[in-house]
Amino acid sequence: MMDKARQHDFRADDFHARFFQMSCREISLLRVRFDIDSDTRIIESVLAGQCDLGVVNHYYLARLISGDPEYPIRFFFPNQGEEERGAFFNLSGAGITSAALNYDNSVLFLEFLSSLEAQNPSDISFPTTNFEFPVHLEAEAESILESFGEFELDLTYPVSEYKDYQLPALDLLERVGYGMSE
């Protein structure tokens, strides 16, 4: 129904064309929808055959695979060729507000969260339970994440600059109608 119209817009939109160009030469075969904004539902829709490819945060798929090791959807990291930029990634951060009542202990707590002890796989580790890649460089990833294999990250922009692109990114999402139906 709306897939055809969307496909047309999609080709016209050079940002998205560039985004996929390097990773997926068969772009013209893709059926593209932007109206689902729940990552889990995007994966389930790929499974149901509504779309061929979904762009999601990896931990949603990891969570589904942890529930069912035979889950038939697999990962594909874009932009992994020789001259390519690598896959986009984002970081979960933590901070202390200026109104914090207990500054010193907050610092200690954040230091603990980012320590090797808290980042290595365990039942209480935040990265493990949430299927995120650890931020501590020496920490190991959870076993399902290990099974995804090695991949290159897109380091074109320093993570500290991400915030500068928040509004343009939201503008772009609104322009293509991400998460919006008609």
Partner: protein
């Protein structure tokens, strides 16, 4: 005659120890408390940020406006057809299960729209079981309605909101139908013709009130349209606020929506007119119902069954199935660890809000009644209207207004507290549940006020006069005469406010302090991440609480319409 009309004002004039305007001070203050946050928004619209509106107009605003109007028109039409149709069916015809259906048709009121929304989404979208089965039967490309669309949002909101129209239309039909139909039949009209030519037009005030109420609910809805990716003004405000942290834009959009809401109130008054025809009909006589046989009987029962299944039994069965699954094997963390906390937060927020709203509503309603006489009722009525304005305002508008209003005050208060030696820098009002309670009061004052006001009708001036003659003072009269008489209204109002706060989404989402999570928010976040099973547990909890006022409405029968009239 003339002596009576002379003595009545004479009596009431001789008793007041406080002049009229003094009794209006408190109600006026409360009304100001409610109007000021909303008024702050109006000022904004007269001083718009031009470049901001240019950008909005070039990007998302046309879609949001269009969607808002399509949604309201669709829900208006849908609730009109379902509400009026089924109200007439159960009033004028006798069929299998009629008495049951008459009450059960109110059940969908207990489901918050966003709960119905996510159940429909999970059930009917491409990856959902129904569409999947459909493809298995009719092939991969078989046509199926796209639920993630205007159609889906309108369908869900219509199914949740038709009871408003149903309830009011049924009451109006009952009150006027018997004599009207008799007269019409005598004049040679068929029953159907009498319905379209006489009964429907005569019931117009009630029906318009119900339809406008449903349209306003559609306009103020946040959760459902969010799930359906259907961007309305209400949804846009929350999105700009939550994702862009852009309170300026959110506030100015809220000011725009404020005006849309005002236009709706105006339209309702215009269409309803001054008339309340239905009260002139013969009360107490019920229209003899036409007994349906065979196919007619089957169709009538079937229609009720289908509507009830779609709007209540199917979604609830799905929720129960998910809930049982989640109960046995949790999919998202251990729900048991947080369930108690969320229930506690929801119950205490709803409880505090209900008590505060009812107390304030009692003061306003009492003051307004006391100062209203046959000749002088403009000012008290106007105050009452101001105090109840919040109910027509979307949660996002109320949240924006309250924050805008409270922020400067809060900084002053907090700075002052610091000079008194308070070391904590956190904000005293906007950083705590105080702001939430305030916003709930603004939003739901009308609910409390209407319940109490309608029960105050029972208190006649004679009762007060009698009490005063026996030497009771104003406070004593209020405590010993008014309070017992209005306690039912207070309880009903408190329950309605309680449930409304339990279900409330946008205000809580935007104004809650860190770490304050309610059942409604828990449901919303889980459903937004497609954790349907996990979302079922808080959703069912809200549903159980939401059923209480619906059962009350079922028992109240006709009189129930007072409770929801705004």
């Amino acid at each position: 005659m003339s002596s009576i009309s002379f003595t009545r004002p004479h009596f009431s004039m001789s008793f007041p120890t406080v002049p009229r305007w003094k009794s209006l001070i408190l109600p006026l203050l409360i009304a100001l408390l409610i109007v000021l946050p909303l008024g702050g928004l109006v000022i904004r619209i007269f001083n718009p940020t031009v470049e901001l509106w240019e950008k909005l107009w070039a990007t998302t605003l046309p879609t949001m406006l269009m969607n808002t109007f399509v949604l309201m028109a669709g829900v208006g039409a849908g609730t009109f057809v379902l509400g009026v149709g089924f109200a007439w069916l159960v009033t004028a015809y006798q069929f299998t299960g009629r008495a049951w259906f008459e009450r059960l048709l109110l059940l969908p009121m207990a489901l918050p729209a966003y709960v119905m929304g996510f159940v429909f989404m999970a059930t009917f979208d491409y990856a959902g079981p129904v569409y999947t089965q459909w493809r298995a039967w009719f092939g991969k490309d078989a046509w199926f309605p796209e639920i993630r669309s205007a159609f889906g949002a309108i369908l869900v909101l219509t199914l949740v909101l038709y009871p408003y129209v149903y309830l009011l239309a049924r009451a109006a039909f009952r009150e006027q139908a018997a004599s009207t139909v008799e007269v019409a039949r005598m004049m040679g009209y068929s029953r159907t013709r009498a319905f379209f030519r006489l009964i429907l037009p005569l019931a117009r005030p009630s029906i318009v009130a119900g339809v406008v109420l449903a349209m306003m609910e559609a306009m103020t809805d946040y959760g459902t349209v969010r799930f359906f990716g259907y961007s309305t003004l209400s949804e846009g405000i929350v999105r700009v606020w939550e994702f862009r942290y852009d309170r300026q834009t959110a506030t100015e959009l809220a000011a725009l929506l404020f005006f849309v809401a005002l236009v709706m109130i105006g339209l309702e008054r215009l269409f309803r007119g001054r008339a309340r025809y239905y009260q002139q009909g013969g009360r107490g006589r019920i229209l003899p119902r036409v007994k349906l046989h065979g196919r007619g009987n089957f169709l009538a029962s079937g229609a009720c069954w289908i509507l009830l299944s779609m709007a209540f039994f199917m979604p609830v069965a799905q929720l129960v199935a998910w809930g049982i699954g989640e109960f046995n094997t949790p999919t998202v963390g251990a729900w048991k660890a947080v369930y108690g906390t969320y229930v506690g937060t929801s119950l205490s927020l709803a409880g505090i809000a209900a008590v505060v709203v009812i107390l304030l509503a009692l003061v306003v309603a009492h003051g307004v009644r006391k100062t209203s006489s046959t000749t002088k009722r403009r000012i008290p009525r106007f105050i009452a209207r101001l105090a109840t304005l919040g109910y027509a305002m979307p949660g996002a508008v109320v949240a924006a207004g309250v924050l805008l209003f409270l922020s400067p005050i809060d900084h002053a208060v907090t700075d002052f507290a610091e000079t008194l030696g308070r070391t904590d820098r956190s904000l005293l009002l906007t950083g705590t549940i105080a702001i939430l309670i305030y916003a709930y009061v603004v939003r739901f004052m009308a609910v409390g006020f209407n319940s109490i006001d309608s029960s105050l009708e029972k208190v006649t001036p004679n009762m007060e006069q009698a009490a005063r003659t026996l030497g009771a003072r104003t406070q004593r009269v209020l405590l010993r005469v008014h309070l017992p008489l209005v306690s039912t209204g207070m309880l009903a109002g408190a329950i309605l406010v309680f449930v409304d706060v339990m279900k409330e989404l946008p205000v809580t989402l935007l104004l809650r302090p860190f770490g304050t999570d309610t059942l409604a928010l828990w449901t919303y976040y889980l459903a937004a991440e497609s954790f349907w099973k996990a979302a079922a547990i808080p959703a069912l909890t809200i549903l159980v609480v939401g059923l209480v006022p619906v059962f009350l409405l079922m028992r109240l029968g006709d009189r129930g319409n007072d409770a929801i009239r705004t």
